[in-house]
């Protein structure tokens, strides 16, 4: 028996571009940089002064009956994106979604702001906030989304650094196929633009002190970002039965682990994840019209990803648009897979390839067509989105246009 088909019926996002998917797509398609001066709770001599920081979200504006003190920023961002996605799916007034709806959240760190505040208070000899634990639990966002929509089915978090929400989408996809549930609210969320978060990433030497330039000559690092994106996945059968609008089909998922190095990416692991996703979707590499790359703009990632793409696409490599939208929404770590899945879906809907901005000149180590600086109108029937994490965890997803 062939597995059940899975479709995307709702999308929502909160990013540096603003509240909503429309704001994200407008920035992505128009090539608007997300690098802004950042605001931190306290200055501990941070050298990098810019980030793709999402707008402030006051959860009391959205859920008047709840207490804002319950929510870390990561949970607030996730809830606001979930509200948009559930409404987009036509389920805002559907009542409790019940035991056949799962909640799967992907996040690299979770509630870093709360953890930092608690540690700061402890060091100052003050008592930690009594809500530290329920707010800081990595699974807090999953529980709050479940409570907001009465989802009583499976609920959990996947944490695999920058592959977190790509893996969340992948495993939710498999759960729907296997019949564990009929619907899943899949979330990617990250809020690590904190004093300590930025200091930690600074020390890694992978943040660009100027501009993030994926696949370009002269690139020197990434732009860190925060935000959330939510996709409502349903079986095609359920979506059809309730007359839901289908925004895209989720067709394939591949995931691998390098098992080699914590920081250095590996060509074998990355290309194998893409090959598995294509095989799972039952399509050939030649059928892919667009790749939303991991494309962090570190020296190593982009060269390694280009080589891995070369193994997949062979001599067709230079004719497949491969773009990185990370200079636009930032590298949002655990949220990246979900945010980029939404950019990919919007690109398919609009027939528009978003550009790779800040591009200076070609790098012989990155022989991809990265659609430099200006987007391109082009029909996209099938697209792939890549997420490769520190620690060597790789994930690739294949999406198809709704109709």
């Amino acid at each position: 028996m062939s597995p059940r088909e899975v479709v995307v019926t709702g999308i929502g996002a909160v990013t540096v571009a603003g509240l909503g998917v429309d704001a994200l797509w407008k920035a992505a398609s128009g090539g608007v940089s997300g690098a802004n001066p950042m605001v931190l709770p306290r200055d501990l001599g941070n050298v990098i002064k810019h980030a793709a920081q999402a707008p402030d979200v006051d959860i009391a504006d959205y859920l008047p009956d709840t207490k804002p003190a319950y929510f870390d920023r990561v949970t607030a961002l996730a809830l606001v994106a979930a509200m948009e996605a559930v409404k987009d799916a036509g389920l805002a007034d559907a009542g409790p979604l019940g035991k056949r709806t799962a909640v799967v959240v992907g996040t690299g760190i979770g509630s870093l702001g709360t953890i930092e505040e608690a540690a700061y208070n402890l060091i100052q000899g003050r008592r930690p906030d009594p809500l530290s634990v329920p707010r800081a639990m990595t699974s807090a966002a999953a529980s709050h989304i479940g409570m907001a929509y009465g989802c009583t089915g499976p609920s959990f978090v996947i944490s695999s650094a920058c592959a977190s929400s790509a893996q969340a989408l992948g495993i939710a996809f498999q759960m729907l196929r296997a019949g564990m549930c009929d619907r899943a609210i899949v979330t990617g969320a990250e809020a690590i633009i904190t004093t300590g978060g930025m200091k930690g990433w600074e020390a890694m030497r992978v943040l660009s002190p100027d501009l993030c330039r994926p696949f370009s000559k002269g690139r020197n690092g990434l732009l860190l970002g925060e935000g959330s994106a939510v996709l409502v996945l349903e079986t095609a059968e359920l979506a059809r039965a309730r007359g839901a609008r289908v925004r895209a089909k989720l067709l394939g998922y591949g995931t691998t682990s390098d098992a080699k190095d914590m920081l250095r990416p590996d060509v074998d692991g990355a290309s194998e994840a893409m090959a598995l996703a294509l095989e799972d979707a039952g399509i050939a590499a030649g059928d892919i019209d667009y790749v939303n790359a991991h494309g962090t703009a570190t020296l190593l990632n982009d060269a390694t990803e280009s080589e891995a793409l070369g193994r997949i696409f062979g001599n067709r490599l230079g004719s497949v648009p491969v773009t990185s939208t990370k200079p636009i929404h930032g590298h949002t770590l655990g949220a990246a897979g979900a945010i980029e899945a939404i950019v990919t879906i919007r690109a398919m809907e609009e027939g528009r390839v978003p550009p790779t901005i800040n591009f200076l000149a070609p790098d012989p180590n990155c022989p991809v067509d990265c659609v430099p600086n200006e987007g391109r109108s082009q029909s996209i029937g099938l697209a792939m989105s890549n997420s490769f994490a520190f620690g060597g965890i790789n994930a690739a997803l294949v999406f198809g246009r709704a109709a």
Binding site: V47, E202, A203, R205, P209, N220, G221, T298
Partner: protein, 80 residues
Amino acid sequence: MTRDLIEVIAKEGMVDMAGVGPDTTLASLNIASVDYMMILAAIEEKFSVYIPMDESLAEVKDVGGLLGVLKQRILAEKKA
């Protein structure tokens, strides 16, 4: 400055700099990507300069080349 830099490289890269010259390759000293991170962090502390991993650093193969790139960055930052 050169001596300061050599001290930092020796300490953070955990290598014995005795008998090391400008032509000594970084590979022979077993300096890897994580050592680079440690060296660059120490240089930030000492000289207040943020140096990201970019092409000029990735292409460096020997001690003399590494010193050259680091010095150039520190002086450029001082001027700015």
